[in-house]
Subunit: 216 residues, 2 copies
């Protein structure tokens, strides 16, 4: 029996509700409208590969289910955001146990999709952004920058990382255009919320202001 069919059957029997996607692109499509509690991701997919899909899943634990036992791939994917990695052929009972582990850790918090810092709110599900209660209309790039900053609230985000992450979507992003986006983003936030939460770290990158004060 095909492994996907087998899994679907087992999971249903266990009482889970299952949605299936038969390609990487379909997976992203499904995820754009539904918010499952867990994703089982095969690496060998038509269209987008699992490796390409993984980084575009945020906020949902992902268990990689793959025939690839190559250690480097495994490590890359785990470090790249996967919650667990199960190698085919696997024991169904073990997979079910690992699924339970993941679901146990997902605290059902309604704020899971809302990132907050100071007077700024970003809803990563609806892509709504507000500052000081006022709605802010951001472009794709500006949104990506703000989200990246809010997801790492106490870290300095280097320009290199910003360029890598942001420009996956954008045709061709250079350091100077990044500065422009940053400038526009800050202006919008300032206009709406009264203050600019982004701080330049000279020669390195940017961070959210006020984040990460140490005490003596």
């Amino acid at each position: 029996m095909h492994i996907g069919n087998m899994l679907e059957e087992v999971l249903c029997k266990e009482g889970y509700r299952v949605s299936r996607a038969y390609s990487g692109t379909e997976a992203l499509l499904v995820l754009s409208s539904a918010r499952p509690d867990l994703v089982l991701l095969d690496l060998r997919l038509p269209g987008l590969s699992g490796e390409e899909v993984l980084p575009r899943i945020a906020g949902i634990p992902v268990i990689i289910v793959s025939a690839k036992a190559d250690m480097d791939d495994k490590v890359d994917l785990l470090l790249g955001g996967a919650a667990d990695y199960v190698t085919k052929p696997f024991d169904v009972k073990e997979l079910l146990a690992r699924i339970t582990v993941q679901l146990r850790q997902t605290a059902p918090s309604p704020d899971a999709f809302v990132l907050t810092h100071d007077n700024i709110q970003v809803n990563t599900a609806t892509r709504d952004v507000s500052a000081g209660g006022t709605a802010v209309k951001l472009t794709r790039t500006e949104y990506a920058i703000l989200k990246l900053l809010l997801q790492n609230p106490s870290q300095v985000i280097t320009k290199t990382i910003l360029l890598e992450r942001i420009c996956e979507d954008t045709p061709d992003c250079t350091e100077s255009s990044l500065k422009m986006h940053m400038s526009n983003l800050r202006r919008k936030l300032r206009d709406a919320g009264g203050k600019d939460p982004i701080e330049a770290v000279w020669g390195i990158g940017f961070k959210l202001s006020g984040a990460g004060n140490l005490q003596a």
Copy 2:
């Protein structure tokens, strides 16, 4: 080499602080006073077995490291509270990746990024620096120098190494400009913290004061 020793060495090299217990009872003893971010638990332990220790650990992710590949045990332990299960022999890189996954899910423990010496604190995530409780504003180069010194607290850092490491980022750093950076850094630390922790080793380089000479 014994696997425990090997693990301890690898983990230390990765920058983790490691406490070891050599029996189940000792593990519980250690855990009653310390709150580690993660527990690696062997099943075959003198005294209390790993199976008995696991249910008494709460609130800390536990990765089981075991030679037992028996599926029922595995499932039981995962369902019984273990966060992950790695079977010996395992690839160290995979274990490190799975450790990262667990630590990622825990509330970000900010201490992991904090270097300390005397009254000086350096947060390598936020790049915040404080001396004697007062915040210190350092330039890129000064920060790099201080970080290098704090990362090797008991070693003399030669001028050559300083020049190599520091000037990767800086346009063109000579010995005389290095002296300048060093001078500025020391002044800032002195102004904020009351004392200057950096000590010149004549003809060689610099080291942190009070750091006992360690043998290579």
